[in-house]
């Protein structure tokens, strides 16, 4: 164990860990909201995120072409906002599609929850493979050559042609904090704050909480639960789209199975904070990101997942419902 390394680089490890954790947290919101409303784990949410990452890369390729270049955050801000919109739209559409195809028919027929779980896993594979076979899909509609920049080598890593070069923003304890990390953390905090307020203050949010507490009473009180459920999926998709944009700023590459590991981490973050709890997702995500980095520093990078999951087990042993408890419904208005 290398305590002196951890101590000497604590600022850098914390900041980069928080940045990744903020992305986990945004994706975790999608798991946690759907769970809050339906008591269902939407395992296909990782693909909602993955489609968002491709939307970002495609916007960059469309505007910028495939020639690699390096730019600062300031130079790309316009493109980033554009790709943020694209990613949020694409992710929300995929989430809506999922709800319509993989969930609603089952819920309508009052199928057991296990069926919905299997349906989600199936949808997850189908979406990931569809992305991995996009060259053939383009071939079927006769656009293979026109879309070459977007679909070539469909199973390989697909990169954003623009590398965003982080600039030092300010120094803390000898480490220059990078603007990219600060932007990622602030942007996700802002998104989460906005979502939190939306759920607390709007009529739709009140409906969400009502369905989460007691679907039948909510229906009796005139809440259209189908509309609420669809809206919840869309909200999760919007957050995943934002997460995808931040991920592409930080990492810059994606592929058809990029959602899997990140989805597992985000799901873990949701459970860590208390699944069904919006603020729990934030706490869980940030804690997971930072503890991964600390674990990697102490034991070696190959141990970072072990450290993160041991932490999860320890916390669940002490607090079985997660750090902040499960309570989308109990959130006070």
């Amino acid at each position: 164990m290398d305590f002196s390394f951890l101590a000497n680089n604590i600022v850098e490890l914390t900041v980069t860990g928080l940045a990744l954790g903020a992305i986990y947290a945004l994706v975790a919101l999608g798991y946690t909201m759907v769970y809050g409303v339906l008591q269902l784990i939407n395992f296909a949410h990782s693909e909602v995120f993955m489609y968002g990452t491709f939307a970002v890369a495609w916007v960059f390729v469309f505007v910028h072409g495939r020639t690699p270049s390096t730019q600062t955050l300031g130079e790309t801000i316009g493109l980033l906002l554009l790709s943020l919109v694209a990613a949020m739209v694409v992710s929300a559409l995929i989430a809506m599609l999922l709800e319509r195809v993989a969930y609603r028919p089952l819920l309508k027929r009052k199928a057991p929850r296990l069926m919905a779980l299997i349906s989600a896993i199936g949808a997850s594979f189908a979406l990931a493979e569809l992305m991995g076979l996009r060259d053939r899909v383009a071939g079927w509609v006769g656009l293979r050559d026109d879309l070459d920049a977007y679909v070539a080598k469909a199973r390989d890593t697909y990169s954003n042609p623009v590398t965003i070069q982080p600039q030092t923003l300010f120094e803390v304890g000898g480490y220059g904090v990078k603007d990219v990390d600060v932007m990622v953390i602030l942007a996700s905090l802002f998104m989460m704050l906005a979502l939190d307020q939306f759920v607390r203050r709007t009529r739709f949010g009140r409906g969400m909480r009502a369905v989460a507490q007691d679907p039948e009473s909510a229906a009796l009180m005139g809440v259209n639960s189908t509309r609420i459920i669809r809206g919840t999926f869309i909200l999760g998709g919007l957050m995943a789209g934002a997460a995808a944009t931040l991920y592409m700023v930080k990492i810059g590459s994606t592929r058809q199975d990029a959602g899997f590991i990140l989805g597992v981490k985000a799901f873990t973050a949701a459970v860590l904070g208390g699944i069904g709890n919006l603020r729990g997702a934030l706490v869980g995500g940030l804690l997971l990101g930072v503890s991964e980095n600390y674990g990697a520093a102490l034991f070696g990078t190959e141990w970072k997942d072990v450290v993160a999951f041991v932490l999860l087990i320890l916390i669940l042993l002490v607090r079985p419902s997660g750090l902040l408890g499960e309570s989308l419904g109990k959130a006070r208005a």
């Binding site: 390394f5 000497n8 680089n9 850098e12 490890l13 980069t16 860990g17 940045a19 990744l20 020639t67 690699p68 270049s69 390096t70 080598k153 199973r155 390989d156 890593t157 990169s159 042609p161 623009v162 590398t163 965003i164 070069q165 982080p166 990219v180 930080k250 990492i251 810059g252 590459s253 592929r255 199975d257 990029a258 590991i261 991964e292 980095n293 990697a296 520093a297 070696g300 990078t301 190959e302 970072k304 997942d305």
Partner: protein
């Protein structure tokens, strides 16, 4: 019983006739096919290829088969008895290869095997080939442990990971002039093996070692380790996706040293992932690009360009043909011929040591310059 045997003979005769006819029909344009010489006292003989022709690494297997096809065509053009080629597609998987190896071993017409393509399938099938005495020459399997198994029928025509790792360490110390090297790998067999040899070669110049995971995308903790160790070079054992992400995130953190990796990363996709951060990276490989006239012959014969391992496969097939020309007919004689073979192939001088490793192999350093991986002009590492 008798009756059915007769029927079988008749059937076989009919089939042989129709095959011969079909062969004659198709051989008009292609003098190499077997129909013409079938009348002479030739027995059917085939070379086998075992490796990935489909799947993620399918392109590499196709490169190999193209080399073999060219060798077969050139041999058959003036051979007394023609040789055919039987392809067995393992998809590069150690799980699928053993069943195919059993098929190859059971086929009496097969005189030898070019392959297996990869290290995993080599380890999974080596024993089968050894026990039945089928001589094999792999154009591409580089794992060190394969030739430690005592399989006397197993040969490779390419430098192994030991040779590559030693060369990489020398390159970092002598050519780059690095004094502090940070070594990273992705914990897979190939990667750990290669980085282990490099670490040995570096000795005191190694300032740190870390392992990442396959499919890891955020490298921030490793980057922190590299930058805080003041390393002036990084060696990464692994494949191009993680190598690209690592190179990119190191540059993003402001690190300015030399990035080096092995043949797992020697792919234009490395540059695609790393973007401009790939500039100046050094990627080693135990193979040189195909000579121009050879590449032209491959293109003319197979219609596709020569790629990685095409030269080695061509040379491997030609060693079998040299064995046939020397009069060796059974597996044992061919194997002995290979063991004592010495010659100059397209890929370089070829001779094998007692274990089946190629005796002299050159490792090449490929550079990323001007935004792309220069596959044409590598520097041989002394």
């Amino acid at each position: 019983m008798n009756r059915s045997t007769r029927m079988w003979h008749l059937g076989a005769l009919a089939m042989a006739t129709s095959l011969a006819l079909a062969a004659c029909g198709s051989s008009e344009s292609d003098g190499a096919a077997s129909g013409d010489n079938a009348a002479a006292d030739c027995q059917e003989q085939n070379l086998a290829f075992l490796g990935a022709l489909t799947g993620d690494a399918g392109a590499l297997g196709v490169n190999m088969v193209n080399g073999i096809k060219l060798a077969v065509e050139e041999y058959n053009a003036d051979a007394e008895c023609p040789v055919g080629l039987k392809e067995f597609d393992s998809q590069g998987s150690p799980d699928k290869a053993p069943a195919l190896a059993t098929q190859i071993v059971g086929d009496d017409t097969i005189i030898g095997l070019v392959g297996p393509g990869f290290s995993g399938e080599s380890l999974a099938t080596g024993k089968t080939f050894f026990e039945s005495g089928v001589p094999t020459i792999s154009p591409s399997a580089t794992n060190v442990t394969i030739t430690d198994q005592g399989w006397t029928t197993w040969h490779r025509i390419i430098g192994n990971d030991q040779a590559q790792g030693e060369a990489d360490a020398r390159y970092l110390l002598d050519t780059v002039g690095a004094t502090k090297v940070f070594v990273i790998d992705d914990a897979q067999d190939y990667s750990k093996g290669l980085s282990g040899v490099v670490r040995e070669g570096l000795g005191d110049a190694e300032v740190g070692y870390d392992q990442i995971q396959v499919k890891q995308t955020d490298m921030s903790s490793v980057v922190t380790k590299v930058t805080s160790s003041d390393a002036d070079a990084v060696f990464y054992g692994g494949y191009y996706t993680e190598a690209g992400l690592l190179a990119k995130q190191l540059r993003q953190a402001g690190w300015e040293g030399t990035f080096m990796s092995g043949d797992g990363s020697q792919d234009p996709a490395f540059v695609e992932v790393a973007g401009e951060a790939a500039e100046g990276a050094v990627l080693s490989a135990p193979a040189a690009p195909a000579p121009e006239d050879f590449a032209a012959r491959v293109e003319e014969s197979t219609g596709s360009a020569a790629g990685l391992y095409t030269t080695q496969s061509y040379d491997a097939a030609n060693i079998f043909f040299a064995a046939l020309e020397s009069g060796a007919t059974d597996a044992q004689a061919i194997n002995e011929f290979i063991g004592s073979y010495e010659g100059e192939g397209v890929s370089g001088p070829i001779s094998f040591d007692d274990k089946g490793d190629i005796e002299t192999s050159t490792i090449y350093a490929y550079m990323v310059t001007g935004g792309e991986l220069d596959l044409e002009n590598p520097t041989p590492i002394e």
